[in-house]
Amino acid sequence: MHPAGCGIGLRAPHVTEVLERRPAVAWLEVHAENYMGGGPARRALERLRADYPVSVHGVGLSLGSAEGPAAHLERLARLVERLEPALVSEHLSWSVTGGTYLNHLLPLPYTEEALEVLCAHVTRAQERLGRRLLVENPSGYLRFRHSPIPEPEFLSALARRTGCGLLCDINNVYVTCANLGGDAAAWLDALDPSAVGEIHLAGHAVNDVDGEDAARRTILIDDHGSPVADAVWRLFEGALGRFGTIPTLIEWDTDVPPLEVLLAEAAKAQRRLDTGSDVVAA
């Protein structure tokens, strides 16, 4: 398991520099689907895993698809067997329908039907991987009319029924609550803290939209393209009190900045983790 430290999401523009500099960062997280081929990307990761704990973060399992995660689970399992990562995570979402992969973490109605689908697929994935999976809350831009179970309760039930862990993306909580109406702190309070095994932090964009309602003229987009927002840092500080000091990650995927900027952002999270552990120790 990771030390309770802050890691960074390793992105292609930084790989060479991380290989050369070996910066002091607690761990690295990679997107599983970028490493399912061979070649230089894979070789670089094989070298880095000797020096850093690695977390494999999948975006392709489509755990919430009515038709199931299909052949992709086998590829993920082979990657996990080779990399022996400290953590493996996926999303509370779906991407595949009718054999098409829609390349997005698409929203689910939070119903008993969807919960059963999720439970079956998470169980199958955990059996094939031979390990516990962490499942991440998505960013939401719409709600379904029939979606009776609140998102944190849905996630907590999934963890209870399957034994999976949860990856709490605090920026996603903030974005979802802003877009769909909801209180982010209350959302975090409703999540089963014993199941949470990892935290994600990232930036979001604030976009104008042509809405009929003046109060909803902006929509937050989870684009991972800027520093973590102040409001998200405050939620993180509050969450550490509930979840304990657990592995935390800074993600930055669009307008990827120099490595230095990403490391500075990780250091900000690390200071809060260190302070949090002092509080716990006292």
Binding site: G37, G181, E212, D213
Partner: protein, 253 residues
């Protein structure tokens, strides 16, 4: 209320075919319309898949300009959305799509440039395979050798075009003059990964025919026949040595 399966099929139609009838009634319409909310998801799908195609086909993108490329990519995504989540595998049939795309008909060489870029992309991500050591062949007698199916490195593509696609590819690189003589004729290229780099080079006709036959998993005997058709002066011993020296052959599975 739709079942999960129906809801997801409706979502797909909304994203890829702009047909929101199946899913919009199930979406809460508060402040922002269902349509505006679905547009957020659609925008992400199209921008990320277009970016993936741009990353795989940077030369095609530069040749036609980015806005035109974006339009072609948009049409492609609608009819050929990905079948799986590894984006480096997306776009294998983009060259065929370009070849049949009416607005590209005046650029008859464009699809072959795309084929070269796909071969380079495939080479970059191909699985690593250990090279065949010369000793493995030395042990075989001539009849066994003739029946042998040699296996090329999985990163290798043999690409033939009636257009000088290698010259076109080079002409658009930074610092090049952008001038190509299209009359210089066909290209016979071997694309592969060497270390961490993807390289391509032009092969003589017989060598190309020989290696293309091996790539198609033909027997050594068949491959030699193909090569001799291309050039009666084809010399097998030298060609085998070159394959071994260049570490193009890999151990059989």
């Amino acid at each position: 209320m739709s079942s999960l399966r129906e809801l997801q099929a409706g979502f797909r139609a909304a994203l890829l075919a702009d047909d929101e009838r199946g899913v919009a009634p199930d979406v809460v319409d508060d402040g922002l319309s269902a349509s505006a909310r679905l547009a957020v998801y659609r925008h992400h799908v199209f921008t990320t898949l277009t970016a993936a195609l741009e990353a795989t086909y940077p030369v095609v993108c530069r040749l036609v300009d980015r806005r035109f490329f974006g339009w072609v990519a948009d049409q492609y995504v609608r009819v050929r959305p990905p079948a799986g989540p590894c984006l480096f595998e997306y776009g294998a049939d983009f060259p065929e799509f370009v070849a049949a795309f009416p607005a590209c008909a005046h650029l008859p060489w464009l699809a072959d440039v795309a084929r070269l870029e796909w071969a380079m992309n495939a080479a970059l991500h191909a699985p690593d395979a250990p090279a065949l050591e010369p000793e493995a062949l030395r042990a075989l007698d001539p009849p066994a050798l003739a029946r042998l199916t040699l296996r090329l490195d999985p990163s290798v593509t043999l690409l033939a075009s009636r257009w000088p696609v290698d010259a076109i590819w080079r002409a658009i690189q930074a610092g090049a003059d952008g001038v190509v003589d299209l009359e210089q004729g066909q290209a016979r290229l071997e694309v592969r990964r060497l270390g961490d780099d993807v390289i391509y080079r032009a092969l003589p006709a017989a060598t190309f025919a020989f290696r293309a036959a091996l790539a198609a998993r033909r027997t050594l005997e068949d491959a030699v026949e193909q090569a001799l058709d291309a050039d009666p002066a084809f010399g097998l011993a030298g060609e085998i040595r070159a394959l071994l020296d260049e570490r193009v052959l890999v151990r059989p599975e």
